[in-house]
Amino acid sequence: MSTFSLKTSEFSVIRDENKCIKCLACVRQCGFDCHQYDEENDSLYTIDANCVNCQRCVYICPADALKIYENPKPMRSNNYWSANDLKNIYKQAETGGVLLTGMGNDKAFPGYFDRLVLNASQVTNPSIDPLREPMEIRTYLGRRTEPIALQKQKEKDKTQTPIVPIETPIMFAGISYGAISHQAFEALARAAKEFGTMFNTGEGGLPKDLYQYGDNAIVQVASGRFGVHSDYLNVGRIIEIKIGQGAKPGIGGHLPGEKITEEISTTRMIPEGTDALSPAPHHDIYSIEDLRQLIFTLKEATRYEKPISVKISAVHNVAAIASGIARAGADIIAVDGFRGGTGAAPLMIRDHVGIPIELAIAAIDQRLRDEGIRNSVTLVAAGGFRCSADVVKAIALGADAVYIGTAALIALGCHLCQKCYTGKCSWGIATQDPYKTRRLNPELGAERLYNLLRGWSHEIKEMLGGMGINSIESLKGNRLHLRGVGLNEVELNLLGVKHAGEAI
């Protein structure tokens, strides 16, 4: 018997009986046991309360017989209390627990990307057709060397790490093996290799069978130090110290023991079935000096062959922190905004901590310029890039490149049901259930990711051409190409852009 609950179903799953052919694909594919088959009566029914609107059944149904509707609010309308608030309170009143969620902040905070517009050339400065003329979007990651001095040749700096070129300013964000399936992980790795960009291992290590993708891997070192060993550091092209994550600034991570399968336990170097806990801070980093120590420890350990990235979440004083990171010897700063995704985060943290990535980019870029050290680091932005225009705007605001995480998972089929933390993902992405992970054929996944990169890259070239520039380098921090729409004075100032309608 189920106990009485105040929670009501959020969705109704409607099956068109005129179309349903009873092939039972929905029953077999639903990760949340919403679709049921009654063999005795040869009939199908749904348990709506189980539906998370992941749309797997809708997609798989060959007869197009399924629709999912959002139920009316289970309350009279109220401009202050939302249905979600009630749902959460009911849930907590029953469980006494912390609310968990997955994916990025979905609150209706105003987005700056949507209030920034791009420029295009007209008459005086002709636009460029990327199909006819060369257009450079290759991007370089790492610390630039000092400007060539005219005087005598300086001695070669032995601590200079190499520059890593990528064919498009888009990389795949750190999503750990464990949070996502091996299949999804492999798809990211393959696509990165095929396209000539980077994927990021996240904090769960790199499975041995994917070492072949090492040249395209950014290997993460996080507070839990999962899967970190000499081979791992050396097989990657770039090492990233993860301090924070946009979806959950200030807190650590928790991968429940059920997700720690044999392979994941081997990769992470922790016992099978035990919870993988990443502490909130690195226990050896309490200052910029400590961070510098770790950066150089890692550089020493890899003979200065690997650029070091430091990833932080975008918080209030992000610019000053970024400056410190640059000075601590990092070659790359990765900053993750408050729309950044996650496999699991406390809802309150995800939705209420951190700042928008647009403001963080602008602030960091400005600060580093002001301090004359902008060229000594690469700035990678992450957290909620939905389309190539978001990427172009981020670069114009001052980023060198971006990470896409959520968009990549969407390309693999994710429908943002936000249930990653349950491990039941119907799409075979955020799950370790071998019945579900096999739904994601890495060959097909890699192909889709490759296509996404290709499409976005092409669009970026078109936007660049429209602006009359033929290289992504010329866009970097070039905020003259941006105008704000409906932004106030403070916002315009912070972003360093003029309002639409204002001329140069």
Binding site: C23, A25, R28, P62, Y435, N441, E443
Partner: protein
Amino acid sequence: MKKVYARPAYCMNCHLCEVNCIVAHSKSRNLLKAFKKEKLRGTARVFVEERKPISIAVQCRHCNDPRCVAGCISGAMVKDTETGIVYCQEEKCVGCWTCVVSCPYGVIRPIEIDGRKLPLKCDLCKEYEEPACVVGCPNKALVFEERGAEV
């Protein structure tokens, strides 16, 4: 010869290959009509076997020495000498089910449609350019390819 091969690592137990096989072999070649009007549910020539977490789509291997052809008492079951496809000439078949017992893979489905017994088996969609199960598999768990001589 080109055959359909299953790739168990990617089979996700959706059974859409069965659905597509049924539609491809229906009169109407229309999903809704095939199931609702022609009542062809359960007549797929491919068998998705499941044993969680594994599932595989099994169909005729179009044997070199097909036992179903040897066993067929009416001469309805034949192996095309050119294409290698083993198929049943339904108008000749008397529905004795000897082929069902002959096939070592158990992939001939004994079915009665409108009072007529028919052994349904994969004919590699010989009337189509590519097998329907392969074309419709959402996860490329089935491939249609030449893998050289069998051992």
